[in-house]
């Protein structure tokens, strides 16, 4: 089933629809309908409710929900955010245990990604996805791609010198190398618009499944917490190293379906850019961190596993949704 909302305007607050008691309460607190002091008493209905609440709290640190920017550091909200992040991190670590790579040298991380055999959305897009399915995929991915690279930028000042220089170099490329029109987020926005989709940030939030919420809040949590800098970089390595070939398959699928060149161009750019980024992320960023402090190995490995695992869960949920066997 596809529920691609085209250009329907969201409510003027930009707030998403609640998915349970806690996300409802946090939005009532933001709009002044609930005293902040009451928020800490509310418990989440389920994981989906908790993840949406976290997403809202994180969005205040990003560019979203501009009307509520003043609430960014509200103590009660920070208390709730830290509690939810703690639960999320525990769940992610439990999933990684026994499955994350044993070594976190650059080559070990790259090998770990190469050996990943999760269900591939890009292979399906290349060969057999319908136009509607591809539009739905782009729509759901827009939550991340419209703020592409932003969460990792928070990691930058936490890194040792050589790793910091290398991450700045990588991010400079993600941010268009000084040309606003080349910002990766802007390339994606242009592609969405060419497809007739709403390219305003977070326009898709009410449609995304729980797996997309989890992917996004995990990455933001890794970026926001200095303690998790190595997990953020491990995630970056796996993300970049699992992008070139899938981007080529995406571009082929988009052209097979006759979708606009603008959206194919976003993926063309990533074939080349991420062939570079996977090397620099593994060798110059993760490698430099590991040389400066060998104890980061475990979190580099944890971040790499988590990136692939969350993508695997998202892919599985899309194949289920479409009734397709990967």
């Amino acid at each position: 089933m596809t529920t691609v909302v085209m250009t329907e305007a969201g409510p003027e607050t930009g707030l998403p629809r609640a998915r349970g008691e806690l996300s409802d309460a946090v939005m009532r607190a933001l709009t002044g309908a609930l005293p902040w002091s009451r928020l800490v008493e509310v418990t989440a209905t389920d994981d989906e409710d908790a993840l949406l609440t976290l997403w809202i709290a994180h969005e205040l640190h990003h560019r979203g929900l501009p009307r509520f920017a003043d609430a960014e550091w509200t103590p009660e909200l920070v208390v709730v955010r830290r509690r939810l992040e703690g639960e999320l991190e525990q769940r992610l670590r439990a999933r990684a245990e026994g499955h994350q790579p044993e070594s976190a040298t650059p080559d070990a991380l790259l090998d770990f990604v190469r050996q990943d055999a999760g269900p591939s959305l890009s292979a399906y897009v290349q060969r057999s996805a319908t136009r509607e399915q591809v539009l739905e995929l782009l729509w759901l991915r827009s939550i991340y791609h419209l703020k592409e690279a932003d969460p990792t930028t928070w990691t930058l000042p936490r890194l040792p010198g050589p790793a910091r220089a290398a991450l700045a170099e990588l991010q400079y490329d993600e941010y268009g190398g000084g040309r606003p029109a080349r910002l990766h987020a802007e390339l994606f926005a242009r592609g969405l618009r060419a497809c007739g989709l709403d390219a305003r940030e977070n326009a898709a939030i009410d449609d995304v499944p729980v797996e997309v919420l989890e992917m996004n809040v995990t990455l933001t949590m890794f970026g926001l917490q200095r303690r998790l800098a190595a997990a953020s970089i491990g995630h970056l390595v796996a993300f970049e190293a699992s992008s070139s070939a899938p981007s080529r398959r995406m571009a082929r699928g988009l052209r097979r379906l006759g979708l606009p060149e603008e959206i194919a161009a976003y993926y063309d750019e990533h074939v080349e850019a991420d062939a570079v980024h996977e090397q620099t992320a593994a060798r110059f960023i993760a490698g430099a961190m590991l040389r400066a402090d060998p104890t980061v190995a475990d979190d580099l490995a944890f971040g790499a596993f988590t990136c692939l695992d969350l993508e695997r869960r998202f892919a599985a949920s899309m194949f289920r949704r479409w009734g397709v066997r990967p």
């Binding site: 190469r114 050589p162 190398g177 070939a245 080529r248 074939v271 850019a273 570079v276 996977e278 090397q279």
Partner: protein, 69 residues
């Protein structure tokens, strides 16, 4: 850092070049890049020559066979 370089050979991967460059292909075409760092294919199997597109990952014989670190 004293060991900072502008050309870096990745084991079983591309040659990384720092700074904007032009590469002349065998047919005379000049390919330009303005990326801060570019990756030139060393395996010859890329679909975007002269640039690396990650294809080296799936080669049965690694580029630097026997030299793996």
């Amino acid at each position: 850092m004293s060991d900072h370089v502008d050309l870096h050979v990745c084991p079983n991967g591309p040659l990384l070049i720092r700074g904007a460059v032009g590469v002349r292909a065998p047919d005379g075409t000049v390919h330009r890049t303005e990326r801060p760092v570019s990756a030139v294919c060393r395996c010859g199997k890329s679909a975007s020559l002269p640039w690396c597109d990650g294809t080296h990952q799936s080669l049965r014989t690694p580029i630097d066979e026997g030299e793996r670190r």
